[in-house]
Symmetry: C2
Subunit: 401 residues, 2 copies
Amino acid sequence: MNFLNEVAIRHPHAISFAAGRPIDEHFDAADVHRWLDVYLKHEGIPASALFQYGPTKGIIAEPVARHLRADEGIEIDPAAVLVTVGAQEAIHLVLRALRRDDRDAVLAVAPTYVGFTGAALTMDLPVFDVRDGDDGIDLDDLAETVRRVRHLGLRPRACYVMPDFANPSGRSMDVPVRHRLLEAAAEHDLLLIEDNPYGFFGPRRPSLKALDHDRRVIYVGTFAKTVLPGARVGYVVADQRVHAADGSVSLFADELAKLKSVVTVNTSPLAQAVIGGRLIEADHRLREANAGPAAEYRRNLDRMLAGLERRFSEPRFGGRVTWTAPEGGFFLVVDVPCVVDDDLLELAARDYGVLFTPMSYFLRGGRAVSQLRLSFSRILPEEMETGLDRLAALVADRQLP
Amino acid sequence: MNFLNEVAIRHPHAISFAAGRPIDEHFDAADVHRWLDVYLKHEGIPASALFQYGPTKGIIAEPVARHLRADEGIEIDPAAVLVTVGAQEAIHLVLRALRRDDRDAVLAVAPTYVGFTGAALTMDLPVFDVRDGDDGIDLDDLAETVRRVRHLGLRPRACYVMPDFANPSGRSMDVPVRHRLLEAAAEHDLLLIEDNPYGFFGPRRPSLKALDHDRRVIYVGTFAKTVLPGARVGYVVADQRVHAADGSVSLFADELAKLKSVVTVNTSPLAQAVIGGRLIEADHRLREANAGPAAEYRRNLDRMLAGLERRFSEPRFGGRVTWTAPEGGFFLVVDVPCVVDDDLLELAARDYGVLFTPMSYFLRGGRAVSQLRLSFSRILPEEMETGLDRLAALVADRQLP
């Protein structure tokens, strides 16, 4: 990712299909001021309360729990919610808590969001791939991987999944697969880490956490895509019971909070209040509040699929360029008849004026493959058309015979 | 610290000398709105720029560097500044980067800020104590500890110090000691991690970083005490050169940024803009801007010292209660003729209505000692007098013969 960032800085005029950013034209500084005031008025507290340190677990667990009930059908005690500095800190804390010693390991559906594997890497926690397949997760491969990990003398603690419009694949799990995954997790005594940044941007399906009656699922959420990234507010729902050596029982969220106290102490109460005000103003219904952006992402996705079809169905590609057709989200993946590595990315930016994310970034060991990820979340129609023209020209010039 | 928090919640009417919070009566929501606007206007950027993700290293390195020049005499390239979620994330990242494998270790002047030892503990990084003594650091003990750590087959990477009005001891290092510490660090090939949350609240001395001509000092700063804690914005100055295996050279700040990208991605641009606006409004001179609060902390410290003297010079204590007399900061330490453990804290809160921090919290292994830390930063005069009366009653009742 660092190389991608460097290339983007060196070639600022290249059209970017790389960054997975939300739309921001509608953002206004007045929103931030108003949401702050809405929060303070609703809670009946003085502004100075936001200016001090706050509790490690955060101050908006209650509105977050209401939002989860209204939008996701997840019934959760606010005590099981830990507010974090974005979903990334939630993932970091969960991995740190799951790693007790060097016999612990985690699984992840591959290709995998780099923030997950990156965090695991910094704490020497091994990650084992599970194939995604057409279902979003290959349950046979999950079972096989669990067996393999145990055979190595390791303890598979959890499997990381993004059931809705996954980053980077765009794939989703249908409802029967979700039920079977929960059953498999129980059978293998695995936790599931459900990361759901894109769930509002496509057809609605119940989240794993909404279907979870067994406290199997640790649910990671973020307001980066549904309110604004710049607040850096996310959360984790962790209602698992933790039994201490002295016989006492606590919630996993409280164990995570202890770790958080030595990572960031607490999440900015100011930033939390901005998000809290937005939740209150929207009556905790962010799906409805995001209907406009969701429709825009959908139009972009349709335009992208049509644009790919129009260009890559040309005879010169010989049907060798294919792509995933997600139902929503921010991303899709294109298979191209050439190796997609940093050299190709540099060439694409410099000579063709287009940027994308090599899929190698989402694969173990970073081995180069002939796939790239395209983001369509924040790109104007004319930019998208020009960008796809450039991509087609690149692939036409570089395709292997 | 968790037990202290629980006791405080169970006894909300107890007078607290426990929390080290800045004064907040002067905070107003209008300040936050104005600082945001000042920042946007000064930078000439649209508000939407704050609403997106931002660069991992942050957006206010330039005003932070100007502030360090104006207030601390530290000349630093903004490229060596990484903006973090409070000083805590800076400490966390520095420790994580220094720990390459299980042969690495760090040193810390004891008693030590719990955020440092707590962070080291979560990453299995051993911490070795260095005595503070009257100088704020015992340099003979530093040399002896380095020898001992090396003899154990470990690599002492850095020593953590708080040269100005340390938490919890209140002690400061005078200027000759600072010079000798820098020489000792060079001699032992140690880095120094200088944490400076309280430097503006007492007589000014040059920071170690201002005296450092050898890139020995990693400087950790925070705006929690000088602007507002609720923004959760701190930073680290890390201008050390890191030589990679491929011969390339980078700044340590960039290595820390890579780690940050999988911990919190970046620090809230919104929160950074609030701090940035404050810095711009104050012409980057926070020492001047904090003259009012600094005078208030000084009055509180004088009142505290007089109040301790008045009560504990009574014959019934037989001269057995003593205390440190810091020149500034938020804290001092009292020696009492009884063991200060969680039981005493519970009793103090319940039966006497007073809270403090047992010094055992700042010591390795948490062994109970006959010392407690008192914070005087945010307490009204009448509360302080009543609180000290209660503390004197507790000690009188509990003192050992």
